[in-house]
Amino acid sequence: MDLMTILQILDSTVRLGTPLLLMCLAGLFSERAGVVDIGLEGKALAAAFFSAAFAYYSGSVWVGMLVGIVAAICFSLIHGVASITFRGNQLISGVALNFLASGLTVLVAQTWFAQGGRTPTLEQARFNAIPLPGAEALRDVPVLGPIYAELISGHSILVYVAFLLVPLSWWVLYRTRFGLRLRAVGENPAAVDTAGISVVRLRFAAILIAGILCGLAGSYLATGLQAGFTREMTAGRGYIALAALIFAKWRPWYCLSATMLFGLLQAVALRYQNIDLGAFVIPVQFMNALPYILTIVILAGFVGAAIPPRASGDPYVKER
């Protein structure tokens, strides 16, 4: 395996890890505020469809992205009304939203485009690769040149945005008043309420942020990674992101490493079908299942306990 092959796999890791990262950060904000969100998948799927559809209609990928974000925010609001306002079960609400997205996207796609639940292929309105300055000039520098040109340069803008969002999320969560309150509302909402801060407003703010991030993830899937929407195109990524969030123990920087690890697994499974180790063969299905198996191992507490925010999953009842 030469340097070029490794770089290609890592390059594909970054591209496949980016939607996971965006969704994982979405889950981070939501769960840190005490709202469990297994509807990441559905939000990203809805955003993927609407961003592809409107990028096609308008010819502008940015319009598509905005509409995708609005769609994801609408889903977030339904989740908020169900689980914050009406204190419903957050898990059930998330499950419902996933099905709603899965059905609605195909239904609307079939009505608008009549292509079997897909959008037409996007020719122009996509996020294109951005070659960083000097990538071509430095390509001939040994080792560092190809790394810069292949791995770091030449991704679409959302990839760079996603990576920048990691330090930003850390800063917001750990260095701002809003972040402190947001984390507090996920641990002990009664204390936040006593301090005179609205639990409901904070939680809604958190799930709105989650909606925006899922919107970015969906729009990257449909207009960056691929050229258009296909049915069920999130393909369980929302759940992998959820797994990565547990893997990351609800911390921003760990989110980056966890999602890139899972991205790497996907990249390897995509490139090699069955991996022949001589003594035995690792089947491709095992590689595909590995993120889930790893999460189970982590959850089992064999590799350090993963403890969620204390109040996550509980609706806040002000008084009885």
Binding site: G88, A96, F99, F286
Partner: protein
């Protein structure tokens, strides 16, 4: 004091939620450019006005009964088993192994054997998440979701690498021996000759599902174990104080739940396809959630809700065939039912409670 009478809780709230879901679905159909009333009558026509329509409706309902019972048994212990899909997939694998490798003399004995295998495989697939929840506190929702994906990968692996007949392209097992084929409704009610239930997949497994309903009812409300499961669900600390081991109840409830979901494999794999196919669970594991929520976790409610969803499934297939409405409409309706009966329950409940309280004050 109860805030409202039992009948309102059991009948009125699900009914209102269902009407809300139906109204929104009608809006969706209208937005597509079709007439909701025409669509509804087409669904009724295709699913309920012909015996073959009923054959399909009851075939789907059989799947939903098993998965709905699975979800509701877990709900009684306050566990959310979202892994019915994976347990059903592994249950189907158990059925396939049992039918392919054991020489059964007659379908009656084969049915008994596959029942045991399906339940056993499904239960074992639920055991690890159950153990992790009981012993390590790992959240069962997350672990069962992960096990759904692992089950799908495992089935794919087994089909492609082991069960696929030599030379076949499609990832499916060989057809089961003729002695294991279950009689369908046409064999039972029309002697295999007449037009009654012609070409429809409902089979003898439906009666197994009915038996499962009765058994679950007996288990939950007429046995000590059922009492313990319900106590655990009502208040874990209370149950613990009464000497009920949470560890044991979590494990047992999840084993029963997984076994019930696994039983679905008989209907699809042995009853209809007569071989193991890749998408053997057909998403029914998730519909089990909607069914259990609508049926208020009672076997009779689950039965009714299953038939309703069977009707929606078959009617949806008819719509996809005759109109421009795609099958995915069913997924939307399913999502709305889960949303309104599950997550937005309080939206209906709170105003109703207020109405009943006001009526009580006056009366």
């Amino acid at each position: 004091m109860d805030r409202m009478p039992v009948w309102a809780d059991v009948v009125l709230i699900p009914l209102i939620s269902l009407l809300l879901a139906a109204a929104l679905s009608a809006v969706a159909i209208w937005a597509i450019g079709e007439n909701p009333w025409d669509a509804f009558s087409l669904m009724v026509d295709g699913a309920l006005m012909r015996s073959s329509g009923w054959g399909y409706t009851l075939y789907y309902a059989t799947n939903f009964i098993f998965c709905g019972l699975a979800v509701s048994v877990a709900f009684h212990a306050k566990l959310f088993n979202i892994g019915g899909e994976g347990q059903a997939v592994i249950g189907s694998l158990g059925v396939a192994l049992c039918c392919l490798y054991i020489p059964w003399p007659h379908w009656t004995i084969a049915l008994l054997g596959s029942t045991v295998f399906a339940a056993l495989f499904g239960a074992l697939w639920a055991l690890i998440p159950a153990y992790l929840q009981a012993a390590r506190g790992s959240h069962i929702v997350i672990t069962t979701i992960m096990f759904n994906f692992i089950a799908a990968a495992l089935l794919n692996y087994v089909l492609v690498n082991h069960l696929r007949p030599v030379g076949a392209m499609e990832p499916a097992s060989a057809t089961f021996p003729a002695a294991t084929h279950l009689p369908d409704f046409r064999d039972i009610f029309a002697g295999g000759e007449g037009v009654l239930f012609r070409g429809s997949p409902a089979n003898v497994t439906f009666f197994v599902a009915l038996a499962a309903c009765v058994l679950v009812w007996l288990l939950i409300w007429r046995t000590k174990l059922g009492y313990e499961i319900r106590s655990q669900g009502y208040s874990e600390s209370g149950a613990k104080y009464a000497g009920i081991s949470p560890f044991r109840i979590i494990i047992v409830a999840m084993l029963i739940s997984g076994g019930l979901a696994g039983l679905m494999g008989i209907n699809v794999t042995q009853g209809e396809a007569e071989r193991l196919i890749l998408n053997s669970a057909e998403g029914a594991g998730f519909i089990g959630i909607a069914v259990a929520l609508m049926g208020r976790n009672h076997p009779f409610g689950v039965l009714l809700a299953s038939i309703l969803f069977g009707f929606l499934y078959q009617g949806g297939a008819e719509l996809a065939m005759w109109t421009s409405i795609p099958r995915e409409l069913i997924v939307v309706i399913q999502a709305l039912v889960i949303l309104f009966t599950g997550a937005l329950d309080n939206m209906v409940r709170w105003p109703l409670e207020r109405v009943f309280m006001a009526m009580r004050k006056e009366g």
